[in-house]
């Protein structure tokens, strides 16, 4: 059953013009419009996510992965967005809904784990407070319930519970990532968008963060969109994968198929350069 369906979505930074789409993309070899100079971060993108499925998005840096992730997580940036995003159980295009609906979806069904810690967490708040914020925003009003749920999430994401009441700024990078994941999972969303979940972490911590996420994802049947430049991460987590370049999807398919039998020239280079 389809949970999220995006058709022909795009995010453009700049004024944009009629020729933006022709002059950018894989064939043009750039994501900057030669006429007006706007950056077409992503365009002509069709993706869908089934319930409980993990979709991987790979591509080189600047290929539009994060812009796509933010757009699908209903995070409003400075980009001009367009296209059609449907979400199960909601009528209409999510890119056009009012703030209230968007906010309700973002506190309930859709969660985003930001690429940059600072975008996702208030570092001056405690780690527990950051996770509690999601619950409190969703209307939890019993202190003991909030406390119990936060402890539960800390345990599930393997963050030391003794550190729960320390300011988030004192946490290690890996712990901050896991606080973000705990926060994203707090109100049991249906879809989690992870933007570069392991950037800047050393390999062993990466493995633990990914393990934790995979376990929780399987246990609760959460659907996820995992954005990464790291093919290993996507290979480990994703059922299906799309490959992006210059703001366009150049290849899509089952992760195993894309990894073992890449069709597009760029994907072949990408995979050969890693494995």
């Amino acid at each position: 059953m389809t949970l999220l369906e995006a058709e022909d979505v795009r995010a453009v930074y700049g004024d944009g013009c009629v020729r933006c789409l022709e002059t950018t993309g894989d064939r043009a070899g750039t994501n900057q419009c030669s006429r007006c100079g706007s950056i077409v971060a992503c365009a002509e993108i069709d993706v869908s996510v089934q319930r409980g499925e993990v979709l991987g998005v790979v591509g080189e840096s600047g290929s539009g992965k994060s812009s796509l992730a933010e757009l699908l997580a209903l995070e409003r940036g400075e980009a001009t967005v367009g296209g059609d995003v449907r979400y199960a159980g909601h009528d209409g295009n999510l890119l056009e809904v009012d703030y209230q609906t968007r906010q309700a979806l973002r506190t309930g069904e859709i969660a985003l784990v930001h690429q940059h810690i600072r975008d996702g967490l208030s570092l001056e708040f405690t780690g527990g407070g950051n996770v509690a914020e999601k619950l409190l925003a969703a209307g939890w009003r019993s202190f003991e319930d909030v406390r119990a749920r936060v402890s539960e999430l800390f345990e599930a994401t393997e963050i030391p519970i003794e550190r729960m009441d320390d300011p988030t700024s004192t946490y290690s990078g890996g712990m901050q990532r896991r606080v973000q994941i705990a926060r994203a999972l707090a109100v049991e969303p249906e879809l989690v968008v992870l933007d570069e979940p392991t950037t800047g972490l050393d390999v062993s911590v990466q493995a633990r963060v990914l393990d934790t996420f995979r376990r929780i994802q399987r246990e609760h049947g959460v659907a996820a969109i995992v954005v990464s430049h790291d093919l290993g991460v996507v290979r480990l987590l994703a059922d299906r994968t799309v490959v992006m370049r210059h703001g366009r999807i150049v290849e899509a398919g089952l992760t195993d198929r894309v990894m073992e039998d890449p069709h597009h020239e760029y994907t072949q280079t990408l995979i050969n350069s890693v494995i």
Partner: protein, 371 residues
């Protein structure tokens, strides 16, 4: 010109007259009263009596009063919402009650009785000066008795005696936005107010409970007004916060420095933020009574002072913060807070849920024993 320079009191109207050489014969007469005098003392003498002639009624000009009233009406129409207004420079520093003075002077009329409280007392320099300013410029009578006042301007307290539906309380506010504590960006906070998005404030309360076991915000307790806007009730103690809920009187909160006015109309629901299992509590003074009047059901403050027979040592004692009511209690210790109303048992002021309150009878007998 030299004459004015010597006195140092060159009034700008007459100075201009001198430089422009009398070309402004059609000048409007209400530009102030030129005072010609040789010495400062002579100038002050000349001011007396004549000096007020150049001022509008209630000090502020009519445009200012209209602007403040307009903002006040809007604030009353949207309970708890901070309405911007054109705050004028006042003859005292911003942060000393300029907002409160502007509202008070805009609503006072010659028939009104005015009371000014500064942290519970009528006698502080600032309170006395504000009272005098209103007395001289707005021709109002002033009082220190809460029950007699029509307009009460207050800094950080709500009187102990119950306010009625014909009274107006003007509270001075230093920091208008309760969310500034959790996010210094006013732009972001305005958005939060617009969307009723108070998650950050709840996190602040959560962390407070984590740290202290209970919500430990001393003054300016964040409060929901009519279920819509989060409001700072100005830095009144938690003790006074419940008095705003379903009150008979109108409360107007004014900040001169931040140029914002907001209001709680009569009979409006005002609910302090709290968890279901961590209730809002007021300050507790276990086993303490005012050492002047013996009250146990008023907001007490700690005093350290040397007293007769203490050989110069400092002794700590507690006194009522509301001096006017303390004086009344002094002569009549059992006077209830609603003594001036025709109904009894008005629920005014705090009930502390987790500490049983001594009943009036117990309190009286205890006082009898100790006294």
């Amino acid at each position: 010109m030299t004459e004015h320079e010597q006195t140092g009191l060159a009034d700008d109207a007459s100075a201009e007259t001198a430089t422009e050489g009398g070309t402004n014969d059609n000048r409007q007469p209400d530009r102030g009263t030129p005072i010609r005098a040789e010495t400062v003392d002579a100038a002050l003498d000349a001011l007396h009596g004549e000096g007020m002639a150049g001022y509008s009624y209630a000090y502020l000009d009519e445009h200012t009063k209209r602007e403040v009233r307009r903002a006040t009406l809007k604030a009353i129409a949207i309970p708890g919402h901070q309405v911007p207004y054109a705050s004028r420079p006042m003859p005292l520093a911003r942060g000393w009650g300029t907002g409160g003075i502007q509202v008070s002077l805009s609503v006072l009329g010659p028939d009104d009785t005015f009371k000014v409280i500064d942290q519970g007392t009528d006698g502080s320099v600032n309170a006395a000066n504000i009272r005098r300013l209103a007395e001289e410029t707005a021709n109002v009578s002033t009082t220190t008795d809460t029950t007699e006042a029509d307009v009460i301007q207050t800094r950080h307290r709500i009187p102990e005696e119950v306010l009625c539906d014909d009274q107006l309380l003007v509270l001075q506010v230093p920091v208008t936005d309760p969310l500034r504590k959790v996010d210094p960006s006013d732009a972001a906070n305005r958005k939060r107010h617009a969307h009723r998005n108070y998650g950050k404030m709840w996190v602040h309360l959560y962390e407070n409970v984590v740290e202290w076991g209970e919500i430990n915000i001393g003054a300016s307790y964040p409060t929901m007004v009519a279920g819509r806007y989060l409001m700072s009730p100005s830095p009144i103690p938690r003790w006074d916060t419940p008095k705003l809920d379903d009150a008979d009187h109108l409360s107007i909160f004014a900040a001169g420095r931040e140029a914002r006015i907001y209001a709680v109309p009569p009979n409006t629901r005002v609910k302090p933020l709290a968890f279901e299992d961590r209730q809002f509590t007021v300050e507790r003074f276990p086993d303490r009574a005012c050492h002047l009047c013996g009250s146990e059901d008023t907001f007490l403050v700690e005093l350290s002072e040397t007293r007769d027979g203490s050989d110069g040592r400092f002794e700590t004692c507690y006194v009522c913060n509301d001096t006017s009511f303390c004086e009344k209690r002094h002569s009549d210790p059992d006077r209830p807070k609603d003594h001036h109303l025709d109904r009894e048992g008005v629920d005014w002021g705090p009930g502390t849920p987790d500490v049983p309150r001594t009943t009036a009878d117990d309190a009286a007998s205890e006082r009898g024993e100790s006294g």
